[in-house]
């Protein structure tokens, strides 16, 4: 299993969507950090390098990051179908469940890798503003970008890292959902589009207040404003992950190739 996992992780860097995502994730913080209309849109001026990661996350968590994660995770399956290598692997003494679990693990790890990269790019983009003590807020704590008083670097680091960790975790079920749809549809584009359609429908379901706290899309804001206690959010996301992964394995076990 470890050989299989290492092999699948190694393939990640070969995906076209990963390279495209890397480009977007590098450019995005730089564009936002130095965009002339930031004050008009957000009502504040950047004063610290710690605020750039917040700005990058706030602007991308609703659509851009789920989109990039969904595309890559669907491509994890789709590339094997396009190359014709899926049957080749399944003819080896590797069970279908083992192979798909390796893919699901890669899909689970990918949001953390992507957000770590995004954070590094954001910090690089914020280097101009420096990382010393500043007045305001990181944008990732309770006080937002303003009103946190004097922020010391250690506290700022803690807020930024925690927010990125929670954000990455909340994106994991989206990756697993993309794998599930790619397995059902046997197609990368179809898998990514079906995932996005599902997320859009979930966003529209906010008209049912009773359902809203349980929606996957609601948890995408947990890095800054968790809808429920963090422990509960973590458990709910884990439940989504388990459900999507189990469904993908069940479907894949009975697929004809």
């Amino acid at each position: 299993m470890s050989a299989l996992l290492a092999m699948e992780l190694g393939k990640l860097g070969r995906l076209a969507s990963v390279r495209f995502s890397a480009l977007v994730l590098v450019l995005f913080p730089f564009l936002w950090a130095y965009a002339p209309g930031i004050f008009d849109v957000y009502g504040f001026f950047l004063v610290s390098g710690f605020q750039v990661p917040a700005l990058a996350l706030l602007s991308s968590m609703e659509f851009l990051l789920p989109l990039l994660i969904a595309i890559t995770c669907a491509e994890l399956i789709g590339i094997e179908i396009n190359n014709g290598t899926l049957p080749t692997v399944l003819l080896r003494p590797v069970t279908r469940a083992q192979w798909l679990l390796a893919k699901l693990l890669v899909a689970s790890v990918y949001p953390f890798l992507a957000l770590a990269f995004f954070l590094l790019a954001s910090l690089a983009a914020g280097a101009f503003f420096g990382f010393g003590p500043f007045v305001g807020g990181t944008g990732l704590g309770r006080q937002g970008l303003l009103g946190a008083g004097t922020m010391v670097p250690l506290e700022a680091w803690r807020e930024v890292l925690q927010a990125y960790l929670i954000a990455a975790y909340s994106l994991v079920p989206i990756g697993l959902l993309a794998v599930l749809f790619a397995v059902i549809l046997m197609n990368a584009a179809g898998g990514a589009l079906a995932t996005l359609a599902t997320l859009i429908v979930m966003q529209l379901l906010v008209v049912f207040p009773g359902v809203t706290p349980y929606l996957l899309t609601t948890q995408l804001g947990a890095y800054v404003h968790p809808a429920s206690p963090l422990g509960w959010v973590v458990a709910l996301i884990a439940l989504y992950c388990a459900a999507f992964a189990a469904a993908a394995v069940i479907v894949f076990e009975r697929k004809d190739f």
Binding site: M7, N83, T85, P87, T88, L91, R92, P93, V94, R254
Partner: protein, 327 residues
């Protein structure tokens, strides 16, 4: 002897449409079974069912005595290429692709990778990316990947597709060698002339039905005699203990000898019965013509009558103990 591959009433439907119907055949260790048939006959589906990539709608598949779905570990003893052309990661070299296969298979020495690359004459191109390989090179790499684990069962879907004559000859030689060392080989192909040279059985498929299974292994002992009275010749030869099987085909009497040396007795035996022998020689079997006849007959039967698939009766070729069909 336990067959290496065995199917019983194997059927596959997609929705209500059957693509493989009630297929029963067996491949023993050391045998080469070639599935031939028109495009869309169901050969690839059979290959995928037998290798465990697709699930039967009904019927069963056994590989080395195991159901490949219930016992995935049996695939340690399988080598297979089910894509034509064989599929590999294009950004990796031929060698790296095989190393990856070796890791998935487990327990394959690195020297074995070099060995199989040399076997299919790809040693010189081993470090080039597969993306720049020609179709024939990919196919040969596919055969190399299949041979990597010294499998007891080899399953290949059109292994010679897109190959030049030299590569074709090479792959057929490799498969023949594998069979002679005890590997059971199941392949699908359109190269009828070549497979006759080394296959032990040919199965003809049409519209999902295995319409004929032709054993070819004993063909060396089969003779053809041109005589003036075919019926008398048939009866005379059928009565001889050194003749295994005899039938009439047109103006010829075709018979199989128990021992090739018995050929010396044929002329005297027929002369004793008052039959004039005009010509005596090996019965060269034209699979291409036979295949065309059988497929066309099956199609005609399918499109006439009640439209249900039926297997058209054809003349037995070398099946032991059959009485044959008089022309």
């Amino acid at each position: 002897m336990q067959p290496a591959i065995e199917t019983h009433a194997l059927t596959k439907r997609y929705g209500s449409r059957p693509v493989v119907r009630e297929l029963t055949f067996a491949v023993n260790p050391g045998e080469v079974f070639a599935l031939v048939g028109p495009n869309g006959a169901g050969k690839t589906t059979v290959i995928r069912l037998v290798s465990g990539l697709a699930f039967p709608s009904s019927g069963s598949v056994r590989m080395l005595g195991h159901d490949p779905h219930e016992t995935p570990s049996v695939r340690r003893r399988l080598g297979a290429v089910v894509e034509a052309p064989a599929a590999f990661y294009p950004y990796l070299s031929g060698r790296s692709n095989l190393v990856l296969h070796a890791r998935l298979a487990g327990g394959v020495a690195s020297s074995r990778v070099r060995e199989v690359l040399d076997q299919v004459e790809l040693g010189h191109a081993a470090d080039r990316k597969v993306g720049v390989y020609s179709l024939g090179m990919r196919q040969r790499l596919g055969v190399a990947a299949a041979l990597l684990t010294r499998p007891e069962v080899l399953i290949l879907d059109e292994p010679a597709s897109g190959m030049d004559p030299l590569s074709l000859h090479l792959v057929h030689r490799v498969l023949r060698d594998a069979a002679s060392s005890g590997t059971a080989v199941l392949l699908s192909t359109h190269h009828l002339d070549e497979v006759v040279a080394y296959c032990s059985h040919v199965g003809i498929m049409e519209d999902g039905v295995l319409i004929d299974q032709i054993p070819l292994r004993d063909r060396g002992a089969r003779m053809r005699a041109l005589v003036d009275d075919v019926q008398s010749a048939r009866l005379t030869l059928a009565a001889q203990p050194w003749v295994r099987e005899v039938f009439v085909r047109g103006r010829d009497v075709v018979f199989t000898l128990e021992q090739p040396a018995a050929i010396d007795k044929v002329a005297g035996c027929l002369a004793g019965a008052g039959v004039a022998l005009r010509e005596l020689g090996d019965d060269s079997f034209d699979l291409r013509s036979y295949y065309r006849e059988r497929v066309e007959a099956q199609r005609a039967r399918r499109t006439s009558g009640d439209g249900r698939p039926r297997i058209a009766p054809g003349p037995p070729i070398v099946a032991e103990g059959t009485a044959g069909v008089d022309a």
